[in-house]
């Protein structure tokens, strides 16, 4: 009786183990590709990073938004408490952070939508839209606070 051919088992047994923990090559000191901290910060990368950070900031801000709306739904007492909070210095800080994130993410989001349509990919266009976006978001934030403080203050 002959042993049935088992090419699969033979192949597996003979194969080089390529898992990193069992691989001498992977353990050796090979050069790593340069990472973020190696590079000088550029407008392009910094604005991109802040788009993500402001997005996460807005996600945190939704907790405050939900608290505010739910308090209003609960009744006059609860709503008065939240309104007093947003009138305090810490409330102003939260609102300021939220407004910065909101206008930044809005303006840079419009920039992203333009890219999605295929516009503004030349390097000088990317820099121009970057500075324009920064100026617009700062202006919008400042205008919003001037209006807000005029109404509230």
């Amino acid at each position: 009786m002959t042993t049935p051919y088992n090419g699969f088992a033979r192949t597996v047994r003979g194969a080089r183990d390529v898992r990193p923990e069992n691989n001498k090559m992977a353990q050796s000191q090979r050069p790593l590709s340069p990472h973020l901290e190696i590079y000088k910060p550029q407008l392009t990368s910094v604005l991109s990073i802040f788009h993500r950070l402001t997005g996460v900031g807005l996600a945190v801000g939704t907790l405050f938004l939900t608290w505010w709306l739910i308090a209003a739904a609960i009744g006059p007492g609860a709503f008065e408490t939240t309104q007093a909070f947003y009138g305090s210095w810490f409330g102003y800080l939260v609102l300021f952070g939220f407004s910065v994130c909101l206008f930044y993410h809005l303006c840079n989001g419009v920039r992203h939508l333009a890219w999605d349509l295929g516009y503004g990919f030349e390097i000088e266009d990317v820099y121009r839209s970057g500075w324009a976006m920064l100026a617009t978001s700062v202006t919008l934030t400042a205008v919003a606070w001037m209006i807000g403080l005029r109404i509230g203050g």
């Binding site: 009744g75 709503f79 309104q83 989001g109 419009v110």
Partner: protein, 126 residues
Amino acid sequence: MSLRTPLGRVRGLGAAREGTGHFWAQRLTAVALVPLTFFFVVFVFLMIGADHARAVALMGNPLVAVIMLLFIVAGFYHMKLGMQVVIEDYIHHEGIKTASVLLVLLGSFALGTACVFAVLKLAFGG
């Protein structure tokens, strides 16, 4: 030469079997949120120093309530999509990644539902 089968190409779902659904929904909500965000800012202006009666009166306007609902739905959906990408990019442990994505999904549903309920309750008279 493409190594993809004709069926795979025509389905257009790619290696993750999802296609461009996530990308498209992110952009769709982004476009919607551009005007909705300006409306929301105006709404916040109108609510500065407001008491409960004013909040009820403001939300009692159908236009205000409906646009607030649109802002909330588009905003929380956009948040879910964005936070999912952030988690998938930076959390590499498979279990923690899955748990975090679930938490974001359920959390945005819960917060969004709470906001929708609050707006509806105010709109219908507090």
